[in-house]
Amino acid sequence: MTYLAILSSAAFPAVLWVLIAVPMRWGPGSGYGLLGGALALGLGLGASSLGYFLSLIAHGASVGWFDGSLLLVGLVAARAAVVRARAAGSAGARARAFAPSIPVRDRVLLLAVAAAALSGAAAFAANTIANPHGEWDAWAIWNLRARELVRAGAGWRTSVSEQTVHGDYPLLLPGAVARLWVYAGTESTLAPALLAAAYAAALVVLMYAVLTALRGRTQGLLGALCLLGTPAFLTTAAWQYADIPLAYYLLAALGLLAVADHEAEPRPLILAWAGAAAGLAAWTKNEGILFVLCLTMTRGASALMRGRLGWASVGWFAAGLLPAAAAVAYFKLTLAPPTYEFAGQRGDALVARLTDPTRYAAIARAAGGELVHTGGPLLIALVAYAVLLGRTRDLRARRAAGSAALVLCLVTLGYAGIYLITPADLVWQLSHSLDRLFLQLWPSALLVLFLSTASPAELDTGALSADRGPRHHIPQRASVASAPARRARRSR
């Protein structure tokens, strides 16, 4: 049965990989191979959770039948994608265009990433051995919900509708864990631990892959290294909380939109996968719903201001968003207990909190302290890096970074707004949640930083991201990359 659980967990990412990599030609050797793999892993696990939830709604607890049907549809779509890709021409042409040579600087960085990854893996193992059930929120919220889904059988609706701690949170993580337990036939603590490891690893690889695709290998390696060098990431990864999966989906959505913005020609499928990632963020935690609202507002307003609101793009993004958004809407409208931050709030109490200056000061103080604590020496080093290297001359990357930064600012304001109106004790809530809110946004903030700063290779050669992989895929801009530099790159 354990083999069945492993096989079932691998099936969704495998099908997703074909669906992502084949139509977009993001296979191995394309320079986008790792991006396709990292996306397939996270989106596949999210899809497996959605599939489990749908199977509960449709057929009680018979997950196998529903998973089988979904996988069959996925396989048919994957087969069609392969056939279409073959008809369109070989993907090998792109693979050959990627220059595999690695400069010394990147080799050193690669070694540093490997050392940090090794240390991170050891920290993960030590934490998991010490706490196989995860930390407090894992057994008080996430794994508890997974047990309710598995153990309650036909009564799962009543079970998840009870007013418990964060009973209103969506079910991505509990659903994914419960599904593994159903296949394994046992509630092994290994299942949530493996999921936590998969999301943490996928997050690091995704960071590397997005930055490498957009800004070159050096920035990619630095992004991955900074994530692995964040103490809060090293400890929280093994806690089996939903914050790392949420951080993954935020990074996936923003990263894919940055890739879409960076492309010379429109790639509707990238927008669809970005929508899927945003939808899965909403299926992970309430903060993900806030993220989707901020993302759609920012993108919509930006497109309107530029007078380029392409309805086709909106449609593709919405098509990706729809499955998870529908599940969230169904869960929130028919099953979830009310969210305590909003439920039963009296107008006068709300106004009193909103007009209390001490709450603003407390939130600002705590946020500043957390930024210093979470960032630590790394934050100082990153500021120094940005100052010493300056901003990139890649206008598309800067625009993508600006767009992502705006979303992150709005989400941060949203978090501050929730703290302002919360009926819970503010000091207690800040001390128990702020560190994880920072961690949710931290990888995306790193993405923004490394998208917007100049890469060492760019400064060396005066060209844009000379070590970038599939450079024919993201054409250099004549205005910023000099002709001699382009010739030098071609001859390398």
């Binding site: 090794l118 418990t164 900074c226 890096y385 400064l459 060396d460």
Partner: protein, 144 residues
């Protein structure tokens, strides 16, 4: 003024050093902790083992109450949440109103509050009580 290549080198060195510092800390901590890689008992697993009999006894029961045990607030909260995690899908409420109530940390039966009868004693202070009387939400004080 530093040249561009030196500025790049300084920036890269700063980022790499700052990023590797926590990794070094982890490795130092692990090398000084003997047997960290060996499986050992954790608090949640120990709690689950202690509640295994109670879980069997409550199979099919929808709701059970929970009497707060003496001790710090954190310990009381942890006990309640661990009971919820262990006994799911049985709903564990933070009061003594339901017909069946868990009492944990009771030194002996003499400390069982009035209007409750011991249905089963699982040892080490863990009791399953029957609520014989009226609804009382403040019985926790009686156990202290």
């Amino acid at each position: 003024m530093l040249s561009q290549s030196r500025r790049t080198a300084v920036a890269l060195t700063a980022v790499v050093a700052a990023a590797l510092w926590p990794a070094l800390g982890v490795l130092v901590q692990l090398t000084t902790t003997s047997g960290w890689y060996l499986p050992h008992d954790d608090a949640v697993s120990a709690f689950e083992r202690r509640y295994a009999g109670l879980r069997e006894a409550l199979r099919g029961v929808a709701v059970v109450g929970h009497l707060t045990t003496p001790g710090s607030t954190d310990a009381q909260t942890a006990s309640l949440y661990l009971a919820r995690y262990t006994l799911a899908p049985t709903r564990v409420t933070d009061d003594a109103a339901p017909a069946l109530v868990i009492a944990d940390g009771v030194p002996d039966r003499a400390h069982v509050p009035p209007r409750f009868a011991v249905r089963r004693d699982f040892g080490s202070g863990l009791l399953l009580l029957e609520n014989l009387g009226e609804r009382r939400s403040d019985v926790s004080r009686d156990t202290e």
